[in-house]
Symmetry: D2
Subunit: 134 residues, 4 copies
């Protein structure tokens, strides 16, 4: 049943664009992260609250395919699908889609884990439930 898709809608902010007049490469990681955190929060896993408790959600690998650049004035969707990658790893499959033509601008696979208070990989029960539910 891993086929539910979560998404948020955003607009390009001019300061996110660089000398070439397009959104800078690094900024897409910001967009993808924001979508992941919003998804996790609505599912009951709050990144900031976890950090305070000493549980750290961390990215271990990111793969990003840049298809076409967003520009000033564009609005876009960031979606995600969450899949289990291994016992202690999970993967977010994400797209950045331009709303004007539904075109995929960037595709990402972001692999994460969680570190417990002792710094060891251990996915919290609440997060495991989210992964299983999908």
């Amino acid at each position: 049943m891993s086929n539910e898709v979560f998404s948020i809608q955003l607009a390009v902010r001019d300061y996110e664009c660089d000398i070439q007049g397009i959104v800078n490469n690094a900024v897409y990681q910001n967009y993808l992260e924001h979508a992941r955190h919003e998804f996790l929060k609505q599912a009951g896993v709050d990144f900031a609250e976890y950090a305070k408790k000493g549980i750290h959600l961390v990215v271990v690998r990111a793969e990003l395919d840049y298809k076409s650049p967003l520009k000033s004035g564009d609005t876009f969707i960031v979606d995600l699908k969450l899949e289990r990658e291994s016992k202690v790893r999970f993967a977010f499959y994400q797209n950045v889609l331009r709303i004007a033509d539904n075109r995929v601008m960037v595709k990402g696979k972001i692999i994460g884990t969680a570190l417990n208070q002792r710094g060891r990989p251990e996915i919290p029960a609440a997060l495991n439930r989210i992964i299983e539910d999908r």
Copy 2:
């Protein structure tokens, strides 16, 4: 002879760190880009000048392995090796190394191309020479 390594030295800035007290994932892409642009500039290929002329150096794929996080106060090296990937693509193999213990914190493979004034992939002669020289 593709074995020459270019590197720059930087220090973590506190605003680059996030709620977890570590450098945010997206910021490493900033570090990697800055090293690439410095390398290209000293080799005679200026990103900003090219952009003005309508030649756009663009990233088509980024792979990042996050091994261990940089923190406030850390100094680090960003290095790179440039390799030809195909006729119109080149790859930067990059490391972020913490100076205190020479530990690899992040590894990246960044694949790029160049778009000419008509938006078609075409590597400028000056850049081709840099790729061949290495």
Copy 3:
């Protein structure tokens, strides 16, 4: 008639927060700029289009009062009022208001001008009309 207020609604993104767990000071300038650009665009003055034509809207002075910090999870309003400051200067009076309690978190006065293709201060007619209308 300078009393119309324009506003946009935004949400804090976790990467905008720093080690203290609060939105970093510099980020509020991003929020304020984004509101100004959205305002100008809906009034027919597009920052990016102007830049392409060689007309640069620039900030000459910024005054920011930080009253209370935004945190992860907060949603907020950024508003603005535009006033003429002098023949070639205009001022945006802006607030960042937390939606939960309508509290003013940051107040800003941002003074700007426009530089024409020769780099001289000159407010384009379209922008002058917006200033007069308010």
Copy 4:
């Protein structure tokens, strides 16, 4: 004796530049903050360590005069002078100077305070000593 000046040297990174090809306004606040934190750290007051202990150094007001913009390729100095502003407030007078011609690009006055573990303004003894020494 408040006339000692601390400074750091930095280089513009291309991702800090915006559509106009110049360093974005908000980025100067990053530069100014980095200089302040480096100054405080070498004087024994570590922003990140203080945050962990629950002592928060915060900016209450920022005034920035933008004289001329930094561009891709520029190197620059960020300096600062620290002055007492009141019993619980201190002010950093800062300049961003382009190295090529020693021109002042941005001037800033940044007023700060410190919040103790109960969230009340109280300047730690170590910081008071730094202010008095200057």
